[in-house]
Symmetry: C2
Subunit: 129 residues, 2 copies
């Protein structure tokens, strides 16, 4: 079975990279457990596993920023996933930005390059990510 | 200091995603320790840390498939790096393919979509990745 070909780490997780299918921009990296990956493939909506909250979650379940999955890929070692997605709401990051990778290294400092598109306090009803 | 803003995991590592700066294709994901990231920024050539070999390495040191780094980004949580690179030799994967993500999920199976561009036995002088 395809899920058995994934090499889960000691915590039962793999990194999953979400890439915007249209622009090619890398929007975020999160973690998946077996159930999250299975649900992602079955529903075509990205599911992840939160290591801090210790629970599986559907991306956008609070924010509405659902990720529609168009393709799933596995790497040579079987321990990293890439998702080609359509990002609903055009915001992937809990800070209200398009991408989580909004800081660029410039002359020895991480410089913020991307604007906040939406105030996070208006994204999450309970004020949390 | 910028290296102190990176949230290293319990093993002192962060995932680093290498993206082709021209095509946008995600070529590989590997791990970096503090020294690898520092060397990457200083030399503009990607350095990683091999968890299996337990040593830091310069990408392409055996194969010649050096990654010239054009940009480094850090994510919102400070625990994932994205590198925009130019891939010398046009091969990032130790299997001799352009990208490590050469398998796509189709109807419950991982299907190989990418050709081997170069026989791995001719890439590595000692036959190892």
């Amino acid at each position: 079975m395809w899920l058995d070909e994934v090499k889960w780490d000691d915590a039962g997780l793999v990194p999953a990279i979400a890439q915007d299918a249209a622009s090619g921009r890398i929007l975020m990296m999160a973690w998946m457990d077996r159930e999250a990956l299975q649900l992602t493939a079955a529903t075509h909506e990205a599911h992840y596993y939160s290591r801090s909250r210790r629970k599986q979650w559907r991306k956008g379940e609070e924010s509405g920023h659902v990720q529609q999955v168009q393709e799933l890929r596995l790497d040579c070692d079987g321990d990293v996933i890439v998702l080609q997605i359509k990002q609903l709401g055009a915001i992937a990051c809990h800070t209200g930005r398009q991408s989580c990778f909004y800081r660029r290294l410039e002359q020895g400092a991480w410089i913020v390059t991307d604007p906040v598109l939406k105030d996070p306090s208006t994204i999450y009803s309970n004020g949390k990510a």
